[in-house]
């Protein structure tokens, strides 16, 4: 089972190492981790996806809470959230295939952000399924490189994860 956690941390040196180290040390499977600033000065937000059953999740949350620099953990797994990830795909594109690729990109509301004689870079945003779907479709043109930002998520509505 996958769990989605939003973790507010003090923006201090080594925080990411502490969190990542904790996961590897205790044998938790981290699937995804992203870090960025928040509206609070000195506070960053980590979005973490972990794999494991409820007992593992409970330990993950308790052990994270013990880190001095961790301020607040919210489990967003069962909450209505907007979740996004951005992916850049460099795909082989000759003059014959360019139009077809362009159409796929439009269907997925992606953007072509770079074009060269024999390749294109496509930017696409969405949740897991959407990114997987476009990846599949572009596969047979020849994907040369992929890079992803990792997932980020916000609670829908006016609630914020600090209230949780």
């Amino acid at each position: 089972m996958k769990h989605l956690l939003a973790v507010l941390v003090e923006d201090k040196p080594g925080v990411l190492t502490r969190v990542a180290g904790l996961f590897s040390r205790r044998g938790f499977n981290i699937e995804n981790i992203t870090v960025g600033e928040t509206v609070l000065p000195g506070v960053s937000r980590m979005t973490i996806t972990v794999e494991g059953d409820e007992t593992v999740l409970e330990q993950v949350m308790k052990q994270l809470n013990k880190l001095i620099n961790v301020i607040k953990i919210s489990n967003l797994s069962h909450e209505p959230v907007v979740m996004r990830e951005l992916m850049l795909i460099k795909v082989r594109a000759e003059s014959q295939t360019r139009n077809e690729i362009q159409q796929i990109v439009e269907t997925f509301r992606g953007k072509v952000v770079d074009v060269s004689l024999d390749s294109m870079i496509i930017e696409v945003t969405g949740n897991d399924e959407k990114l997987e779907a476009i990846k599949q479709l572009l596969h047979h043109f020849g994907i040369r490189e992929i890079v992803r930002t990792g997932k980020i998520a916000l609670l829908r509505g006016s609630k914020i994860s600090r209230d949780q």
Partner: protein, 561 residues
């Protein structure tokens, strides 16, 4: 007030009422040691940095106050690691100050540079690399606060050499507000009420308490709970002393080398009141069979301990003393009479193997421990090393007060006992302090004899000398068909003469009569004494539960006369 970084460290120690530091100098802490020179602060110069951490750890375990250590960068800092891990596993408050190469050299593989905050990340409660002298006072205050509140633990502060010499304002604020650190002290009232009900309903309740019961000063409350509730008590290794060892309600330690009664009681209990225990594998044996019939109340200050190894029905997060106090206010004892009769039957039927020295007047290790108990009237503080002698001490010395049994439980660090005993004695100059060690363990920090002699630290060292890494040999005998692969300690020195060479008193005993005489002589002299007890080399620790077996499958052993 403006002052240099080095002066800030000393001033912070004064604010924290630290009057004793253990350490070993070197290049990057020269400014700190220079500041120490006129400070009036007492500093004990050890002979290996590991000794400094263990000594500070022993000091902390008996006083409850953070032990403080100074060490230099690189090898000085890395020599601390075993000691830090030892303290971390047993939740001991320490503040470790290490020097680091100057800020501009960090990351360049400079001479004696080691990333000690990186290295100690998994074995400290928290650590800091100081980057600006302005931050130093707050970091020091936080370090002491974090080390000694909530679940205690070691905190390391790594200070680059240039920061010791830079000036900044010094305002020291002990009342820290740390956004991500808010320990829970009061137990949840609803959970306490559930516990009260469960205790009233229980017919076969058992209290099982560990190190946290000692550390939170809950021994008084624990005793009231046992006596008013008519509930028997078992203590983990770390818990020894939290309940009087001579009480009829005391069952001894459970687990691998626990008593038969304690293991049977854990197996048969219908309610376990677990007080600050970690349900370590040495205690639970095979987890699937552990306490199958029991509902478990688990009280701990660290929420992460609850449900970590064993499923808990009634969790209570909080300071044990406060939680027990709340429990006692509403306690309604259940009917435990039949259960207590059953327990008494087990106690009579399965006493500990006594090792009275029956066969040919051979000196038995258990006898030595019981003689120490007799001659100190059970009033000494005993630090141990790790191995068979540690288990015999746990079994045969009658610990009656908290903070009298000092031992590396979680990490099982050989070499811990002697330096820890030095820290204990420095903290409690009026108490008789023994170190019970093994011929293997003692040699892991034997150099601290110089520290003991140089500072006239009156610790009596009892070496249970079996010529073996005995505990490992026992496993080889029982589980590896007697193939004693590298467990015979050939080449051991004459420990009494080693002691004399250091300027301590050295004695040796090979028979029960000599043992008693040597102990009396040792206790009559002021100053450090080493007694080399030449015991039966292949004596085993029993009872024993084989690893990963249910704890009611106990080998009681036949060779203990």
């Amino acid at each position: 007030m403006k002052m240099k970084g080095a002066a800030m460290v000393i001033a912070a120690l004064q604010q924290e009422q630290v009057d004793l530091v253990f350490g070993f100098p070197g290049g990057t802490v020269l400014p700190l040691y220079d500041q120490l020179y006129h400070s009036g602060l007492k500093h004990i110069l050890v002979r290996h940095e590991q000794g400094a951490v263990h000594a500070a750890d022993g000091f902390a375990r008996v006083t409850g106050k953070p032990g403080v250590v100074f060490a230099t960068s690189g090898p000085g800092a890395t020599n601390l690691v075993t000691g830090i891990a030892t303290a971390y596993m047993d939740s001991v408050p320490l503040v470790l100050i290490t020097g680091q190469v100057a800020t501009r050299f960090i990351g360049t593989d400079a001479f004696q540079e080691a990333d000690i905050t990186g290295i100690t990340l998994p074995v400290t409660k928290h650590n800091y690399l100081v980057k600006d002298v302005i931050d130093l006072p707050d970091i020091l205050a936080e370090a002491f606060y974090i080390a000694s509140t909530g679940r205690n633990g070691p905190v390391l502060v790594d200070i680059p050499k240039d920061i010791f010499d830079l000036e900044g304002p010094f305002n020291y604020d002990r009342q820290r507000e740390i956004p991500g650190y808010k320990p829970t002290y009061e137990g949840h009232a609803g959970q306490v009420a559930r516990a009260v009900k469960a205790i009233k309903a229980a017919r076969r309740p058992l209290i099982f308490a560990g190190g946290g019961a000692v550390r939170s000063g809950a021994a008084g409350e624990l005793r009231l709970l046992a006596e008013r509730g008519r509930i028997p008590v078992s203590l983990s290794l770390m818990g020894l002393g939290a309940f009087p060892g001579d009480s009829p309600l005391f069952l001894g330690m459970p687990g691998m080398h626990g008593t038969v009664t304690a293991n049977y009681a854990l197996t048969e209990a219908d309610l376990i009141i677990a007080v600050c225990v970690r349900f370590d594998d040495r205690v639970t044996g095979r987890l699937e069979n552990f306490a199958e019939r029991a509902e478990i109340i688990h009280i701990d200050i660290d929420p992460a301990e609850i449900g970590k190894n064993v499923t808990i029905q009634i969790p209570i997060v909080g300071d044990v003393r406060l939680v027990l106090e709340a429990l006692l206010k509403r306690l309604e004892p259940g009917d435990t009479a039949a259960w207590l009769r059953q327990i008494e039957e087990w106690q009579v039927k399965y006493p500990l193997p006594a090792g009275n020295g029956g066969d040919g007047g051979r000196l038995k290790p258990q006898f030595v421990i019981r003689e120490i108990n007799r001659l100190t009237r059970g009033e000494a503080v005993i630090a141990t090393d790790v191995g068979q002698h540690q288990m015999w001490t746990a079994q045969h010395y009658c610990f009656r007060e908290p903070r009298t049994f000092i031992s590396s439980g979680g990490l099982g660090t050989m070499g811990y006992g002697f330096p820890a005993a030095l820290g204990v004695k420095l903290a409690l100059p009026q108490r008789t302090v023994f170190c019970v060690t093994g011929d293997g363990s003692f040699q892991m920090n034997i150099q601290e004899l110089a520290t003991a002699v140089g500072n006239k630290i009156d610790v009596k060292v009892a070496i249970i000398n079996n010529g073996y890494l005995g505990m490992v040999r026992q496993w080889q005998e029982l589980f590896y068909a007697g193939r004693y692969s590298h467990t015979a300690l050939t080449g051991n020195p004459d420990f009494a003469r080693v002691a004399e060479a250091y300027g301590a008193k050295g004695l040796r005993a090979s028979t029960p009569a000599e043992a008693a005489a040597a102990l009396e002589e040792a206790m009559a002299v002021a100053g450090p004494v080493v007694i080399d007890f030449m015991v039966d080399p292949e004596e085993n620790v029993f009872p024993m539960v084989a690893p990963n077996r249910p704890i009611n499958e106990i080998i009681t052993g036949g060779n203990n006369g």
